[in-house]
Amino acid sequence: MNGAPLTLQLLNFCAALLLLLSFAMLSQRRIVNLVNLLAVQGSVLLLATLLLAARTGQHHLYLSAALTLGLKVILLPWLLHRLIRRLGVYWDAEPLLNISGTMLVGVLTVVFAFGLAQPISQLASTATRNAIGIAVAVVLLSFLMMITRRKAMSQVVGFLSMENGLFFGAMSATYGMPMVVEFGVALDVLVAVLVLGIFFFQIREQFDSLDLHHLESLREEAGHGGRS
């Protein structure tokens, strides 16, 4: 590692920080903190994008950094905070697996992700190819978070953090996706959060709670409805 240029070291540091933030999210019970962590994750991503842009001189990366700043650091956390305030959900219920158990599964996930990314990083020719493993790990950890959480709100945060992981993966494997794709994904994410926000209100109106295991009873009621 010694002798590597400073920007590369900083990039690797950002990668490690992203992994750390994923674990912090996995262990966090308060939804407000979860959203704050998401904003921090967006900021680290922004920093990584800027560093990579400065290092490779690819101008479209500056554009995607601006996109990250506008969308992931400012707009989405703000939207989510507003949703939390209006819905009055501040805590997630106890996750399906307790925190220590989730953490251990998380470590195994990271090992798996690193193994998975090994062949990919050998194919990549970018300077940041080592970070691909971390990107895959962030994606899988967000996935794990979506699986273990009950409240719809935390699942959305997991979804957004998964997108962050994918973005970082694309960045470290090929120095970013084409601009069109990036804009498309950004728009998708924005729309998804807006639509899910409307869904939250609907879910709460139906079940008086954002706990998603209530949704499982929908099936039976639909069956009754069909018969009558």
């Binding site: 590692m1 010694n2 002798g3 590597a4 400073l6 070291q9 900083l10 690797n12 540091f13 990668a15 490690a16 920080l17 992994l19 750390l20 674990f23 262990s27 925190i99 220590s100 953490m103 251990l104 998380g106 470590v107 990271v110 090992v111 690193f114 080592n130 970070a131 493993g133 971390i134």
Partner: protein, 316 residues
């Protein structure tokens, strides 16, 4: 064995013995400031120890020799540990006998004897404290070992002075793995030294205390030694942290006595900053329930493992 090495060794031991209560006093003072209380004197731990040495010891009727011997064993282990940790110089004659893993073992020995002595008298609180102490210890030790392994992987040796020397003399670089392990180490330090998220050093509420419960039956010189040993333990942990994560300023190699002299103010500065940081952490965090302690230490272990994985992946 060169004379300068012997001087370094003796100086380190003397500094540890003298500065450990001072470090504790400094932390207490910082905590008082942060909590808007009027601060106790920084010399208070010395006065407490001196006062206890002048008192007559009271020992429980059923106490065995183990109870009487334990303070000396614990204190001895801590002094020996202080001799192994390179806080000022890395060329120490003592360190040839023990590497970092042996150091962890030494700290564990002290813990075992402390717990045995607490159980020896047979009071309920002593037993309770001993059990909790062992629980914390058995969770904290793997994390501490893992932390040391990360540093060992980077410098390819388990000898603490060699690790420090390697980390201090190489070109400056960012080590994400070391950053992870530094967080883990801070958590282990807090847990092992009965600091706030796990145990409150200022408490005398029997149901929540761990460290104080172990010392409940001790008085006079035994208690003084135990408290001095606790201060030394905190000092040792701080010095392990410095050796692994901020090794700069330690005199390495075969330099003149000048480097050794220069390392004294550096160590003092590190201790002052670390004490302030520790007080800050303790002030902003609340004490966890005992049943949350495994979660806290599992997180520390996780951070250490993450550090290891990141080191293997990124090579940094």
């Amino acid at each position: 064995m060169r004379p300068i090495e012997v001087v370094t060794q003796l100086l380190e031991l003397a500094a540890a013995l003298a500065a450990a209560p001072l470090f504790l006093g400094w932390i207490n003072q910082c905590r008082a400031w942060l909590q808007n209380r009027s601060a106790p004197s920084i010399w208070l731990p010395y006065r407490g120890i001196a006062k206890l040495f002048h008192k007559d010891a009271v020992i429980a009727v059923r106490a065995s020799a183990l109870f009487r011997l334990a303070p000396y064993i614990v204190f001895g282990a801590m002094v020996l540990a202080a001799g192994i940790i390179p806080s000022m110089g890395t060329r120490l004659p003592f360190t040839r006998i023990a590497d970092a893993i042996a150091l962890v073992g030494l700290l564990a020995t002290a813990r075992v004897f402390m717990s045995l002595a607490a159980m020896d008298v047979g009071t309920a609180f002593g037993t309770l404290g001993a059990r909790r102490e062992m629980m914390v210890g058995f969770l904290a030790e793997p994390a501490l070992l893992m932390i040391i392994f990360v540093a060992s992987l980077i410098s390819a040796t388990t000898a603490l002075p060699a690790i420090t020397e390697h980390l201090a003399t190489q070109t400056l670089g960012l080590y994400p793995s070391l950053a992870f392990t530094a967080v883990a180490f801070t958590m282990v330090l807090l847990a092992e030294n009965a600091r706030i998220p796990i145990d409150n050093p200022a408490t005398h509420l029997e149901l929540t205390m761990i460290h104080e419960a172990l010392l409940l039956e001790y008085s006079a010189r035994h208690l003084a030694l135990m408290e001095w040993a606790a201060a030394l333990k905190l000092f040792n942990y701080a010095c392990i942290g410095f050796a692994l994560f901020i090794p700069w300023g330690v005199s390495t190699g075969q330099e003149a006595p000048l480097a050794l002299l220069a390392s004294i103010p550096v160590l003092a500065a590190k201790l002052i900053v670390a004490g302030g940081a520790l007080a800050l952490i303790e002030t902003v965090s609340a004490k966890l329930r005992v049943f949350r302690a495994p979660e806290f230490l599992a997180t520390a272990f996780l951070f250490a493992v993450l550090g290891l994985l990141v080191h293997l992946l990124l090579g940094a």
